[in-house]
Symmetry: C2
């Protein structure tokens, strides 16, 4: 495993997320999964089912990130336009993939239904398949762009099939500790600690639960010994502010 | 209320969403709230706490959308850099706002804690305030960019204070109906119906629940009579496919 930083962008394609009808959960699953593989999600976008927007966005982000993962829009209906858009973005034709077609044709159906299903066998010329362990049609990879389903269980199946097949970089580890005090109370100490560990990202995430304010302090970086030293300093700062370090986590 | 289309982009600023530590729920709340006000969220981005990324993204999207709403990064700690970035994006200075300062100073604190808190009184020159009904420091508006907290309860309070103060366009209404059949079975009928109603967006959202496949068909548009006619046609198509229209919704 190399120590370089490997980045990804996630594109959530779908009007249903932007209308508020559906609460997205795919982004969270993808970021956690890729993180464990040494791939850092650096940006995510939710975009509508509009060809020009999908094409332009794919072409922008595939240049800027090592990997791009998309969810949504690869089913059999008229609003499933992701494969068409990816082909357009790469300037290639859509072709019928024999392996997907064979899987689709295993289940008998009347001709019109089969014709609709066969839309899902169309992938951009030069793309390779992403397996779908649920038994449905596969997703596909076009260069550094991975195209997956929007249904969470199907997306998760496709993503899991990529385990061990992607080049990852250093894995970002984390430490976290919670303190029941206002962020302002510990702000100066945190700033000083952050300045001593430029390679670790120290975040302060305030919350208000059960009528009490508190903040969770999260350290993220690739060097475990840096993280441990920083955690000790943050715990000492919490104690110095008159609170107790609670719920310490190492991940 | 004008009939023009009013658009918005949402920027979720925060490493904790991109690391997967936190599941975002702010986007869903914002899209539903703005939708009811006649403002259509057309894109959302999740971006990290990196000044260059925040500044460039804000400057890109504030030109492309009528409104931009940001969440996150306006607290008192070193990692709260949103106000600084918005000032940079607009090429103005940060100034101490007397109204926020007064609210912060109401609660006594030792000098170093007060100094940290006072960071939250700094807003870009020319910005106006967004009220915060929880009693904490206010958010702010800079031209068409609305800067809100990341804590969901605080963000919701800030957003609700804007009700009736933003110009909205035509409100997008919806109809939805669920059918327990595969998408492919009804794909041809849906395509034909969509072609007859170009101003309405017809989406098909498949699901797999309790061991049954199904799809929810969602129609979104501004013309109620179009929506009703389209819903009737979709229900007839479901029946023609041998299933029953279930769970009809009007919103």
């Amino acid at each position: 495993m190399s120590a370089r930083t490997v980045t990804a962008c996630v594109l959530i394609i779908g009007n249903e997320i932007l209308s508020g009808r559906t609460q997205d959960t795919n982004l969270n699953h993808i970021t956690l999964t890729l993180g464990a593989w040494g791939i850092q999600v650096r940006e995510a976008r939710v975009i509508p089912d509009v060809p020009g927007v999908i094409i332009d966005t794919v072409n922008e982000v595939r240049e800027r990130f090592d990997y791009v993962f998309t969810t949504g829009g690869i089913g059999p209906t008229h609003d499933d336009i992701t494969a068409d858009c990816i082909a357009d973005a790469f300037g290639v034709k859509l072709v019928v993939n024999a392996e997907i077609a064979e899987r689709i044709q295993r289940r008998p159906a009347p001709p019109d239904v089969m014709a609709a299903r066969m839309r899902m066998a169309r992938i951009p010329e030069g793309a390779t398949l992403i397996d779908n362990l649920t038994g449905g049609p596969q997703g596909f990879r076009m260069e550094n762009v991975f195209v997956m389903a929007g249904i969470p269980s199907v997306m998760q199946s496709m993503l899991s099939s990529l385990e061990g097949r992607l080049e990852g970089g250093a894995i970002v580890r984390n430490r976290a500790v919670t303190a029941h005090l206002g962020e302002s109370t510990i702000a100066d100490a945190l700033r000083a600690i952050q300045s001593r560990y430029p390679a670790v990202d120290l975040g302060s995430y305030p919350f208000f639960r059960a009528d009490r304010y508190g903040t969770t302090l999260v350290m993220r970086g690739t060097d475990e010994s840096d993280l441990d030293r920083m955690l000790a300093e943050v715990c000492a700062a919490i104690t110095a502010c008159g609170a107790e370090p609670e719920d310490i986590q190492r991940g």
